[in-house]
């Protein structure tokens, strides 16, 4: 098909989809931002398998006007991070649940619901809403992110001025089979401030998540997320962050099962000496599991560091995808960029597809990437077996060790421990 026809077809798909949607009501600035996002979406169109960044992931079920149903899965385990003192904000099928949530109050931070903030004529959120998402299309178009900005019905907006004493936990509950949820959050970490944001739970049958994070000079933002075990869940998320001088951004995502997950993380290092770490572990069992990490880190300042560490454990026909890129702009000297993507294929049907990219326009940099794929190391397995460790246990042990490198990216030991437990639990259930 000719190129022009493809674009026309993409735009047509976006227009058709947009017709089924209504922009949420709000103050003039919010409406303006949502309309601009819709305009971006209509111009870009919705992706097809023929798009470079969607060649390995079929976007159809994310585009369909009606969300494919997903049975609510009874995980039969206590919510993760239950032991940790945190401020809980609960959304059930995307609807804010005031009763289940803690009061939106904490020293040093200002929290509001997006739906409230968007109704206020004057609000700090005005400068951030859709801003980083719009910047995120510079190299690669991300139509689902524009879609999210345009149609998100709710979310939270958090402004941090001091050091948040407890993490803020966004809890996403999934209650009905056909729920189709769009949430968008804003986080602004002011100079020298600190926040840890947790996102947990399966959210909905189909979930579109948007998160824009502005990390000011000297500020720190930590992000830990788990995407629930619901087998039929479909999810497309976009995290957009901009980092100031000497700021720190850390994000870790654990995905266990789910039919389709596409996590995009787009980070811009705009201040000198900033640090960005993005990591993830995905565990997939079965033909129905399709997990896609798409990461794009732009170095636009001097002496910054970025790390990408992604691990995937795949079995029974599961598919794992990693598309990561480090872009070093001209003048971004002394950049230290590192990227590793690895998959452990536990049996012969699983597949791993990776595209670890470097695009570099500055000469005084040290950038490297590595990508490996293979089965469990036979020698290591033999060693453990010879010490009397049963085969199943040995396999799980080695798998856990394989994922550990990604978990090490999490500073907070308590959070890491909770994730490790989940991992071990998954392995216990899914090993043969």
């Amino acid at each position: 098909m000719a190129r022009a026809d493809l674009i026309a077809r993409r735009q047509e798909a976006a227009a058709t989809r947009a017709e089924t949607m209504t922009l949420p009501e709000g103050a003039a600035w919010a409406t303006e931002a949502r309309e601009a996002a819709r305009a971006r979406l209509l111009k870009m169109g919705l992706p097809t398998r023929r798009d470079e960044y969607w060649k390995w992931t079929n976007p159809e079920s994310l585009i369909a006007a009606e969300a494919p149903t997903a049975a609510v899965f009874d995980a039969d385990e206590a919510p993760i991070f239950d032991e940790i003192d945190r401020l809980r904000i609960v959304f059930t099928d995307g609807v804010f649940d005031a009763e289940a949530s803690d009061p939106l109050e904490m020293a040093g931070i200002e929290i509001a619901r997006l739906s409230d903030a968007a109704r206020a004529d004057i609000h700090w959120a005005r400068d951030l809403y859709g801003t980083l998402e719009a910047r995120g299309h510079a190299s690669v178009e991300r139509p689902f992110a524009a879609f999210n900005t345009a149609y998100a019905t709710d979310g939270v907006v958090i402004r941090v001025t001091g050091t948040a004493a407890r993490p803020v936990n966004l809890v996403y509950r999934h209650a009905s089979d056909g729920s189709d949820v769009i949430l968008h959050h804003l986080v602004k970490v002011e100079e020298g401030a600190e926040l840890t944001l947790l996102e947990t739970g399966p959210a909905a049958a189909r979930f579109s998540g948007g998160l824009e994070v502005e990390v000011a000079d000297g500020a720190t933002f930590r992000h830990v997320r788990t995407q629930g075990r619901d087998h039929e869940r479909r999810e497309v998320t976009g995290v957009f962050a901009r980092l100031g001088t000497e700021s720190t951004f850390q994000s870790f995502t654990l995905t266990a099962n789910g039919k389709l997950t596409r996590n995009e993380v787009v980070i811009e290092l705009t201040g000198d000496d900033a640090v960005a770490h993005v990591a993830g572990a995905a565990l997939g069992d079965g033909k129905d599991f399709h997990h896609d990490d798409t990461v794009f880190i732009t170095h636009d300042a001097v002496n910054c560091e970025s790390r990408q560490v992604f691990k995937k454990v795949l079995r029974n026909g599961a598919t794992g995808i990693f598309q990561g890129k480090i872009l070093v702009k001209q003048g971004a000297q002394k950049t230290d960029g590192y990227q590793i993507s690895q998959s452990l294929l536990l049996d012969d049907d699983a597949q791993f597809l990776a595209k670890p990219e470097l695009e570099i326009y500055a000469d005084d940099v040290a950038c490297s990437h590595g990508s490996t794929s293979g089965a469990i190391d036979e020698d290591a397995l033999f060693y453990l077996r010879s010490r009397g460790v049963p085969h199943r246990e040995a396999t799980n042990l080695l798998t856990l060790a394989f994922v550990a490198e990604a978990l090490e990216e999490i500073d907070d030991e308590a959070l890491a421990e909770a994730l490790r437990d989940r991992l071990a639990g998954w392995l216990e259930r899914h090993s043969s």
């Binding site: 536990l346 470097l358 950038c367 590595g370 990508s371």
Partner: protein, 509 residues
């Protein structure tokens, strides 16, 4: 037109031309930038079915070949130029160039090399590729010391659209090896050409390959029969000379069961202000237990310091390891061309077949290279290895783009990829775009890539030993690229080492 853009230095009386030439060579500008003044026959400008027919007619081709070309042309008209590569160049006007240019003296095909126009022979002589049947390639330092036994190189010389002559044909024939121009092969060995042409790179493979299928004018043909180890290295030397003329050559190499051949390819073009198009297709068929080594030193005119002129090099090269234990090795040194778009690939179909790819791509000034390889593992226990070294200087852009694909049935296969980039100067770019697809778990795929600059400590060490900056960079770069240089046949390795130094001249400080 003058042979050089640089003004001729004043020459004192008594200094002969050779000395001046030698000094020029050392000055480090593109040393093959002169042209040969020779009367040419052109096909009318532009591209149409008539031109395709005309090319076919000039080559005295049978009807099936004409039809094959016409089909390709019809397909090409429906295709769009690919845009995915990280290269930028002005829109190519496919109607504003010649698709066929032949020296007038070649109108009646010379029966032997003795009948070839001396001007043409002189051209190749000057390029260091004498078309005499001598033991070694002239002009390569150190080659004299090589053992003379077995260091013969047969040459097929392609000048614009036609093959001028092929050396050592008789001796090769004794061994059963067919080495001739593709136009001759179409006439003399139609059964082989029919069987293999387009079987590795299908007619509609991609935009440039399809264009080539329609208008290719000449190229080389090699057939090595079962069990034969080709008694000498084979080589083709491509020279673009005519202005506004595209060169579209087609190479077909067939290594039958248990055979071996090493093939070298060289290319140069005059220095001109306008860019010229080169779109080649190389197909290699490797049967059971056979092995092919294909080495290229690509030194097309890269354009001047301001990015004016140069060759646009759009090449499709693919090797098909059809039989079990077939083996192919691509080695390339890419120093020339304004724009390079080239991905020598390996289809590893036979069980236990092997593919290797060693590449150095050097870009300076305004050059752009988007090059790499594809390793498609289909057979069991197949192995591939990729070593790619990209060196970028000046305002150049250098991209490695590659695919490693392990199909579900390619069990117990192995790939190792290493691609390193070196940046010299803060105005250039180096990029890596690898695709990795693993569809079974008994195969192992490893990919490593680094990007760095010339190490300060290494520089300091060299400078401290009295080397100047450019010498030091050349030495360090040679070290950086040594794994690839070592994979080259000796004749090429020496030339390549010198090229590395020349290409980077002026990029420091």
């Amino acid at each position: 037109m003058t042979a050089y853009d640089t003004p001729t230095p004043e020459v004192k009386e008594g200094v002969d031309e050779d000395t001046v030439e030698a000094v020029r060579k050392l000055s480090g500008t593109y040393k093959y930038g002169w042209d040969t003044e020779i009367e040419m026959d052109y096909a009318p400008k532009g591209l149409s079915e008539d031109i395709v027919r005309l090319i076919s007619e000039k080559n005295e081709e049978p009807e099936w070949m004409t039809d094959w070309r016409l089909k390709a042309f019809q397909r090409w008209q429906q295709m769009e130029e690919p845009e995915w590569a990280m290269i930028e160049y002005p829109q190519i006007d496919f109607q504003n160039q010649y698709y066929y240019a032949r020296p007038k003296s070649m109108e009646v095909k010379p029966k032997s090399l003795d009948e070839v126009d001396p001007k043409l022979l002189a051209t190749y002589e000057k390029l260091g590729i004498p078309l005499k049947e001598q033991m070694i390639l002239a002009g390569v330092e150190g080659a004299e010391d090589a053992p003379s036994e077995g260091r013969k190189v047969a040459v097929d010389a392609v000048f614009d659209s036609v093959s001028v002559g092929t050396t050592f044909q008789a001796e090769l024939k004794k061994a059963g090896v067919i080495f001739c121009s593709i136009s001759e092969a179409i006439r003399e060995h139609p059964e082989l050409v029919k069987k293999y042409l387009g079987s590795v790179v299908p007619v509609s493979d991609n935009f440039y390959a399809t264009l080539n299928s329609a208008v290719f004018s000449d190229g080389s043909f090699v057939y090595v029969p079962p069990g034969v180890r080709c008694p000498m290295e084979l080589s083709t030397y491509f020279r673009i000379n005519a202005e506004n003329t595209g060169q579209f050559e087609r190479t077909l190499i067939i290594a039958d069961k248990g055979s071996y051949v090493s093939y070298l390819e060289g290319c140069t073009a005059p220095q001109r202000d306008t860019a010229q198009l080169h779109a080649a297709v190389v197909e290699i068929v490797i049967e059971e237990d056979a092995e092919v080594k294909y080495s290229t030193v690509q030194n097309w005119f890269p354009g001047d310091e301001d990015g004016k002129g140069g060759i646009y090099n759009f090449v499709t090269k693919r090797a098909d390891c059809r039989g079990d234990r077939a083996k192919v090795m691509w080695t390339q040194v890419e120093t020339g061309s304004a724009v390079t778009w080239k991905y020598p690939s390996c289809l590893l179909r036979g069980d236990d077949s092997q593919g290797e790819f060693y590449s150095i791509a050097i870009t300076n000034n305004h050059q752009q290279a988007d090059t790499g390889t594809k390793m498609t593992h289909l057979g069991k226990r197949t192995k591939s290895r990729i070593v790619s070294k990209g060196i970028s200087a000046g305002k150049a852009q250098n991209t490695y783009r590659g695919l490693v694909s392990m199909h579900p049935k390619a069990t117990d296969s192995r790939n190792y990829t290493q691609c390193d980039s070196l940046l010299i100067g803060d105005q250039c770019g180096a990029h890596t775009v690898p695709y990795i697809e693993v569809k079974n778990n008994s195969s192992r795929v490893e990919h490593e890539a680094t990007t760095s600059k010339v190490d300060d400590d290494q520089m300091f060490y060299c400078r401290q030993r009295g080397m100047d900056e450019e010498e030091a960079v050349a030495l360090i770069v040679n070290g950086f690229a040594k794994e690839v240089l070592q994979a080259l046949p000796m004749e090429f390795a020496m030339e390549a080492q010198q090229l590395v130094a020349i290409s980077l001249e002026g990029s420091v400080g």
